[in-house]
Symmetry: C2
Subunit: 193 residues, 2 copies
């Protein structure tokens, strides 16, 4: 048991570093960039609150587990803003190596369990993963809106790009949620459709 | 549905402010104080990883929900370091008023559900709440240890005080966990018993 706890605490201490990974989106009062640890808390709570937007086949507690773990790879790979052009394949390889290393700190059974959950999230094919991805894409929009533009300004983003890069993904998991969020976001870009 | 979503997003936006509430404990690299939002993420993940330390009657997904919500009242009431002498009754009243206001932003059914979960956590009587409280007390010890003393230095804390203020509570929910953690913490205070 002691070896097991030693491995578990090695993991729990390592993931503390997620608090130092910054994102493109500012926190709501625009005082500083959000970090990936507090982002993970925020979207896990989003999933809890917005559970009634998920289809009946979605298990919210699995979604919450996924969201708690989904960004841990950023400790090695960094956060990649969706509006920044990048080599997706190279970045995915970096993240997979990070998953190997960081989940690998855990006892074998948990390493395999959490890695499978992370792989499922990344694949975005299961109902739980599709809903989790929807939630993950919605939260930065609300923060950008609250902070007066946030990463939209930095990356010179258009409503069309939001429809393509964000809307298409949110609609897969939570179509009514997208209708609501889009209606809030569109006026910022001077459009209502 | 739109009214419901409007209320839900009002809550989700308000709780963003938890990212600005600082705690007595520094993050592991000792570069700055931890904030209550990233703390909430860290301990929800603690609960997930340390689930095998919980008794068989504990439902870990309920514990995780509790831990996601447990500190939200600090937006109004602030974080109260356990080693700081304070008027516990006055602080509890402040937190209850905060729960009323902040959970009150949600649709009625969710406001009642989340408030009940928060009340259960605060009461620390159910197996889920007792385990959640154990986890909440353990994480700051590991951060203080990692950062070279943290709030132990600031509040001139002794091992005896940790046994009383922390150990007694952790033992209620996770006795083997306390044995392990105490053995790691004691050398810092120059004691092994």
């Amino acid at each position: 048991m002691t070896d097991r706890l030693t491995a578990q605490f090695a993991f729990l201490q390592e993931i503390d570093r997620l608090k130092g990974v910054t994102r493109a989106t500012p926190i709501g009062d625009n005082s500083r960039p959000e970090n990936s640890a507090e982002h993970s808390w925020h979207i896990a709570t989003y999933a809890l609150v917005l559970a009634d937007q998920a289809g009946p086949e979605v298990r919210i507690d699995r979604v919450i587990r996924m969201l708690l773990l989904h960004d841990i790879v950023e400790i090695d790979a960094g956060d990649m803003p969706i509006h920044l052009a990048h080599d997706a394949e190279a970045h995915a390889a970096k993240e997979a190596a990070a998953a190997e290393r960081i989940f690998g700190l855990l006892p074998e059974d948990q390493a395999a369990e959490f890695r499978a959950l992370w792989d499922e999230f990344e694949a975005a094919e299961s109902p739980d993963a599709i809903f989790a991805k929807s939630i993950d894409r919605v939260q930065p929009l609300l923060l950008n809106l609250a902070s007066g533009g946030g990463s939209w300004i930095e990356y010179d983003v258009t409503m069309e790009q939001i429809d393509t890069r964000v809307g298409e993904k949110v609609k897969r998991g939570a179509p009514r949620l997208w209708d609501h969020v889009r209606a809030r976001v569109a006026p910022y870009f001077g459009t209502s459709r």
